[in-house]
Symmetry: C2
Subunit: 269 residues, 2 copies
């Protein structure tokens, strides 16, 4: 099954555009190990999310044991919920092949984020896994995004050039884009360039992006193909033993908030 179909199935089943970022920080966990923590979060939220997104940095920060924890975590995610590797990889062809194999074949992710800086031959090895999703960084949610992504290239900001290229490269209908909720105008521009592409939208929650405008500008004409990621705001909503229950409450609240903004989306009226 193609990534986009797996995503749409789960999104419709759970009535959710919420992706939960599984970014473990042992210092914020209430006396459980990381696998127990992740497993409890997954069990408490898997009927509320459209996808999970572990960011590899937080596993690598635990050394090789961290990658074993990541393998274990993925096993606890129900098979019909898509899992996105937030890896932001980007390397020359031969090496990109090894990264794609690592993420898709070895760890078994359904999708991965990649960086565009090295151009098409760094992305092609990922895209050639036609059933997997590939989210290319376009306009990111951080302050430093302006340093290069907003520079004008041939009259367009670099991030828009990336969006145009992504559309051109999307021959297998498995490419998406990463656009931060912290930059709603840029999100609107990218959605207008790629009306049918799946967008991965981080930056609501701890990063402070406005959810209403992110939903309004981020979804496609049917109110779909947008994934709103929240990590810390859900995972660490409580630092006590009730962390999983509180995470569920917060996740459900955000899911409903997204849906309420969707309800006012032009096509849904």
């Amino acid at each position: 099954m193609k990534f986009i179909d797996k995503l749409l199935n789960m999104s419709r089943k759970n009535r959710s555009l919420l992706c939960i970022g599984l970014d473990p920080d042992p210092e914020l966990m209430p006396g459980v190990d990381v696998v127990q923590f992740n497993r409890a979060i997954i069990e408490a939220t898997s009927d509320l999310a459209c996808a999970y997104k572990p960011n590899l940095a937080f596993y690598e920060a635990l050394g090789s044991a961290g990658l074993a924890i990541l393998e274990e975590t993925i096993k606890h995610i129900p098979g019909d919920v898509p899992v996105i590797a937030d890896a932001k990889r980007g390397d020359i062809g031969n090496t990109a092949k090894a990264y794609a194999r690592a993420l898709f074949s070895v760890f078994g992710f359904d999708a991965a984020t990649v960086s565009p800086y090295l151009g098409y031959d760094s992305i092609e090895p990922f895209v050639s896994y036609q059933d997997k999703g590939v989210f290319i960084l376009c306009r990111t949610s951080n302050r430093g995004a302006v340093d290069f992504q907003d520079l004008h290239t041939n009259g367009l900001p670099l991030y828009e050039t990336v969006a145009h290229k992504a559309r051109e490269w999307n021959i297998h209908d498995n490419i998406g884009l990463v656009v931060g909720a912290t930059c709603p105008e840029e999100l609107k521009r990218v959605r207008s360039i790629c009306p049918e592409m799946c967008l991965l939208i981080p930056g609501v929650g701890a990063q402070g992006g406005d959810l209403a405008s992110a939903v309004s500008y981020g979804v496609d004409a049917r109110g779909e193909r947008a994934i709103f990621n929240v990590s810390r705001q859900i995972l660490y909503a409580s630092r006590g033993k009730d962390f999983a229950r509180v995470a569920r409450t917060v996740a459900d609240r955000i899911r409903r908030q997204i849906n309420s903004h969707l309800a006012s989306h032009p096509e849904q009226k």
Copy 2:
């Protein structure tokens, strides 16, 4: 000790600007495991190299066991030889901090490669480890480099803008740039923008970059601060049991070739 001093020490001791890329491909190894292979390569070449550079993709492709192999490999490298993590990481601040901790504190690398696409706050967490080296991707050695790196931004190609920014950000004197040997004119431009910066130059060897022009354009005025990386051409020079011995022969030949091109460098005459 700062990375650049550790590098210059080893480079002068071994009279070498050759970095050996430890990129394991089990299919090309003659019936030894990856740790044995890497260890044999290191033992056969550590008096010929100025640094080693494992690319993390090839370890991640072996799953969590691969990261354990990486940890083991690093232990076998003599403490005075710098080890560069070719990771090309780039993520938002909070996540970049986790990557920097992973590479510098957990795995213990002396330097790392990072991607510039997310801007300064994605690089700052690496740079704040003042004794570690941070190589920012500038003009890469692959064909796809032209897709974005060569686009003009404010009259300059993006890669030159990255070089100018890197110079501006280099307050701790620990930033370097990655420029491919496959694009000698671009290498020359970058060296003229950053005359005193350390350049990591892949692309000679299997990728076909011309060594003479890479040396001529890549080194600083003293014939230093350039690292020429070769991986496959050395590691897999022989696929037989004699792989380490043959790797040594090839590594020494390339080291001497670099030095002979150095001898014709203007400042050395």
